[in-house]
Symmetry: C2
Subunit: 698 residues, 2 copies
């Protein structure tokens, strides 16, 4: 008997737009299940992530209803997992267990069956996973055959499942077949039949199963697949092909297979995920080099194939080193998780906070591959909203009007400072320029500092080589034709000198041009931005200071953050020794609103912002600015910035350029605001800022 073991995973990230999920449902999730239900001989292990399943239960109870029947008949095995699809290895142990248990309970509630298998988010495997998975009460999973090849096994040994263990905790692991992932649903059904015949005729030295485990979105959500899979009848023909051959093909769930068949061996998988993840997780330089090496292997033919067997890229955790913003979210998530564990609140409140935290652990916003991930502000917004609200609910209002403390949050071996008032949470890094890295409006769950730095990506060279892509893209090599979602993207390809935080201190030329600011090609005449500040904590304020040089001479910057009522704070500067008649002391802020640069966001100012417009995407230079208000009337929140003296304001939107399944695209990541104060020399330079946040009614 030759088995066809079929497993599908459907997922939508927490924070995704409702319309996008609805489209995926109509184009894929529903028609797939409906078609399957008409072929009861075809067995399936099915994983819908918790967020999606809850969405379905609310919007499309007919899906749950149908699936319940198929689960009851044994046609479909329901797979468990972390409720909100976290990368298991990087969330706290207790949260892992709770998320998996919560999801198992939810599955039991909806389908009256308890899952035995787990879908492993992004197939990110670490050697301690058997203990985690057994600890969470589950027994088996499918990853890629790639994982097994990295353990030294050969493709023809991967026709069944293996045992593995950690600390003696045994689980069973299935190698998902790469050849099948390319066939289903992309090739004519005949290719699948041929492949099954090849297995029947003894392709595998070990095992007798064609094991498929992949994303359900390939059936209808991916470009072109809806037509191919459903309208053109691929899926129907696929199911019929299996049904025609039931005399030798036995369709099976993962659980059904291992109840019948012995393991084919024992192995230990290394710390890896699917192949592409290895490329994505590397730093830009290494990633580009890795792509080159892969191309080189292709040219080497058979030798290349043999080399490829031992090739590996980076590992998932490295995203936390690659993107400091991802690291910061991650460490804040750990912080909230530990606050929650200490939290003295009642059971109901704890449960609610827990659910918010777990939503914030959803993997998508923490990394970037070919889907937007970290580059999508709305996903990060959802992470922060969930974290801030969870934290607010656990911490409650601070007992003191101001609560200031320091600890190393982001694992850079230096303490950050946390200043909280009833409505605000401010996170400063003295080590990194004494800048603000998070600015929370706690009642609204908004982090105005949810910006993203413009980093080089390994794949950017493709855009550069294509001259920007598109028809007017200039010279192109035939290897470098790239898809772009709009033209002129090269104009946006700029890299930043440091993190896009707020209260970054510059010493600049009078002539600082908006374009130079934008391109980070301006001349820095001081030694303060992103550099280490000493700091002192007081009950009501934080004083940070740095003695270094500006305009070639010794200079000291001292800045004091103090709370000003429940919803405001001040940043007061004392700059001593900046002697430059034509110099400007510049304070740079980078901020983002929940509705980004959309029509519901605008600037308001005492000064006329001029012809550039008042949207957050506007750019320009304005003299005499004393107040600037960033209003988000979608979320109903406004951030006001007031200076104690008129400033020259340079502002521009910050866009990143990243690759998605549709091609290169630019994404708005916040607005840069540079407040300039003339250095008239001497000791008199002491500008101060007051920032306040208010919720807007209606």
């Amino acid at each position: 008997m030759t088995y066809f073991v079929f497993c599908i995973h459907n997922h939508q990230p927490v924070g995704n737009f409702d319309s996008v999920i609805e489209e995926a449902y109509q184009n894929s999730y529903w028609p797939f299940l409906e078609a399957l239900s008409r072929h009861p001989e075809i067995k399936l292990s099915l994983h819908n992530t918790g967020f999606l399943l809850d969405w379905m239960a609310e919007r499309h109870p007919e899906y749950i209803e149908l699936l319940r029947g198929m689960a009851a008949s044994g046609q479909v095995e329901i797979m468990g997992g972390g409720y909100y699809e976290p990368v298991l290895s990087v969330i706290p142990e207790v949260d892992r267990l709770r998320q998996v248990a919560m999801f198992s309970e939810r599955i039991e509630e909806l389908f009256r069956v308890r899952p035995r298998g787990i879908w492993l988010a992004e197939r990110v495997w670490e050697p301690t996973h058997p203990s985690i998975i057994r600890g969470a009460g589950l027994e088996y999973l499918v990853v890629d055959d790639y994982h097994f090849v990295k353990a030294g096994l050969e493709k023809d040994e991967l026709g069944g499942y293996y045992t593995t263990e950690d600390q003696g905790n045994l689980i069973k692991i299935f190698p998902g077949n790469e050849a099948l992932r390319y066939l289903i649903p992309f090739k004519p059904v005949e290719s699948f039949e041929e492949y099954m015949l090849c297995i029947k005729n003894g392709f595998f030295r070990r095992g007798n199963a064609a094991i498929y485990g992949d994303d359900g979105e390939k059936f209808g959500v991916w470009p072109g697949t809806r037509k191919w899979v459903f309208e053109d009848g691929w899926l129907e023909r696929f199911f019929e092909a299996i049904e025609r051959n039931l005399d030798w093909i036995r369709p099976s769930t993962l659980g059904g297979y291992l109840d019948r068949e012995e393991p084919v061996g024992h192995t230990y998988l290394p710390n890896t995920s699917y192949m592409e993840m290895g490329e994505w997780a590397l730093s830009a330089g290494a990633s580009r080099e890795y792509m080159r090496v892969i191309e080189e292997l292709d040219r080497l033919g058979e030798t290349g194939g043999r080399l490829r067997r031992f090739l590996q890229g980076g590992t998932w955790r490295n995203f936390l080193a690659k993107y400091p913003e991802s690291n910061w979210m991650h460490k804040r998530m750990l912080m909230v998780s530990s606050e929650l564990k200490r939290g003295p609140r009642g059971e109901t409140q704890r449960r609610a906070a827990e659910r918010l935290l777990y939503q914030a652990q959803c993997n998508d916003a923490y990394w970037h591959g070919v889907f937007g991930g970290l580059y999508l502000p709305h996903l990060r917004t959802a992470v922060y909203e969930n974290l801030i609200l969870a934290e607010d609910s656990v911490l409650g209002k601070p007992k003191k009007a101001v609560d200031i403390s320091a600890s190393d949050l982001d694992a850079d071996d230096h303490e950050e400072v946390i200043a909280r008032s009833p409505d605000l949470g401010i996170f400063l890094s003295p080590f990194n320029g004494g800048a603000v890295f998070e600015l929370d409006y706690r009642p609204g769950g908004v982090n105005f500092q949810n910006t993203l730095t413009r980093y080089q990506e390994g794949y950017h060279y493709k855009l550069e080589a294509s001259g920007g892509g598109g028809e007017n893209g200039g010279a192109k090599s035939i290897h470098e034709v790239v898809k772009v979602k709009e033209e002129g993207l090269l104009n946006y390809l700029r890299y930043d000198r440091g993190r896009r935080a707020s209260f970054i201190d510059h010493f600049l030329d009078e002539g600082i041009a908006l374009d130079d600011l934008y391109s980070h090609t301006y001349r820095e005449l001081g030694d303060f931005a992103w550099k280490k500040y000493e700091f002192e904590l007081f009950p009501d304020r934080v004083v940070m200071h740095r003695a270094a040089a500006a305009y070639g001479a010794g200079c000291t910057v001292r800045k004091t953050l103090s709370m000003d009522g429940g919803n405001a704070f001040k940043m007061s500067y004392e700059v001593v020794g900046a002697e430059a008649p034509n110099g400007f002391f510049g304070v740079e802020l980078n901020l983002i609103l929940p509705a980004c640069d959309g029509p519901l966001c605008r600037y308001e100012s005492n000064a006329d912002l001029g012809g550039g417009g008042i949207g957050l995407g506007s750019r320009g230079r304005t003299e005499g600015v004393e107040s600037l208000r960033l209003v988000d009337s979608w979320k109903g929140v406004a951030l006001s910035i007031e200076t104690d003296r008129p400033a020259t304001l340079l502002r521009h939107p910050v866009h990143t350029v990243s690759l998605s399944e549709g091609g290169f695209e630019k994404i708005y990541q916040g607005s840069c605001l540079l407040f300039l104060f003339p250095c008239r020399g001497g000791d008199g330079l002491a500008p101060s800022f007051r920032l306040s946040v208010e919720g807007l009614s209606g």
Copy 2:
């Protein structure tokens, strides 16, 4: 300032011969420390593993005395670690913490300093290590730059230490410099000075330190190094070279460096060890292919170098899949650890048992690279002795004369059976031929089943290609000149069909030849050996049975293990349906004595063993054997085998052929005993065995 950060690790495996340790002490450990003490400006982070340190404290208190002074002066930083140098990832969590804490306490007792850094055994890194290490109270370590390259970093970014974390637990990691590992102590001192100059002149984009972390045995223990390092004065010149350049070279310990300098970045290392370990941990086929690929890369020149950056072999845990004997030891270790945790005994006894267990966790016997490791019977003997004695001390005498239970010990997804009497512990695998995989004499801490199967190794092809090596080795390619410790090794290069266990059931030809048995080229005419037996447990016995085929017809083998007093057991067979007038039913045992095939071991028998000799290394065919006694007068223990009827006995020693630093060598791994009973057809075949163990006085 350019730093030279110096870290050395000295290690001897638990169970190693006293004379070997003494030699290493005289040739390396002592002269090195003594020389260092005369150069107080040269700083060193020094790790001696617990077993070695205890040995020194007992045999050479002058070492401890001298080192104490150097630690007090700050010249030497004492590094911590697991007391008996376990691979941290594969021992139970509690044991990790206890082993590290015990060792830190011991260091404090001996040297009055508490370690802050850890030496990571075999540099086996897993992503959860930061939690383990911080949990154990330590803060930093050095691994190879290779680990960092696998994380995507480039060599010129590795001039300082990085932060990393797991679950928010921050530790600091140093990349040990590969170039230095090749220079020190192998190249003239001038090469070292040139390299330091190169660093001074800005080789590193990140950091300012030449970081060395490697084995102390390279200074005097490795072949030829004693003369070079000490007699020819390399070490003295090396220290002097540093002293001459103290104006720009700052010698430093690991701890001293990080107290002064900032981290150069944040990263996440993948699951890896040093480069060679990647080759060794792969299965034979994959390992050979990996070696080929490395050779191919060398031929590809610059391209090869770029490819190599992303090349990785296997991971340490895979040794447990590669060698079932290693897996078995590991799982028995986990079992004893968990018995110990449940153990109701008093504190003193628990502590003593704990120490035995931790000694059994010493890494060396569990794997094999270029040192013998798993291939060395005396190291495995030490593991079993420690495990059995620890277990015996915790379990005490069984309350019942016989205690029989079943559980899946070795993570093969099938239950093994454990039968214990006051003096014996017998471990059977019904799934694997119903054979005995461990046979413990509990009071003596002896496992007579501590044999090793002859497996193919990836490097065996080198011996084959060389025609056996040595002068009479036949045809050789110039790439394949290999070192051998003796000639004729090809005659020993045989691979086994299954594990070298006991009570493996064969159906054979009358003409079964000793050579065929030896070479595993005999014809198996039944379907029982290493196949699945059903089993039933009774309070006083285990019944295993298998219905399959022998001599082309249906046949059933039923075998019953029952205890016979405190120090003996019976294995009684009932063979039904073996119809072959000239056939033999064969029961194969493979056994080893603690003193192996040495002069203190001998066979005794009712029959004349003939001209082959009576040593355990003897071979031959003997008729009419009814009793066979294996006597070890070194350990003072004897194992008697009695049959209820005369048998024909075929016996031969089992040697493996493995690679060590001195070249290929053969190692005795036990003796194969095949008891043959004629199949006179019909139902009457019911031979039985009685095995008993006794301690010998004196």
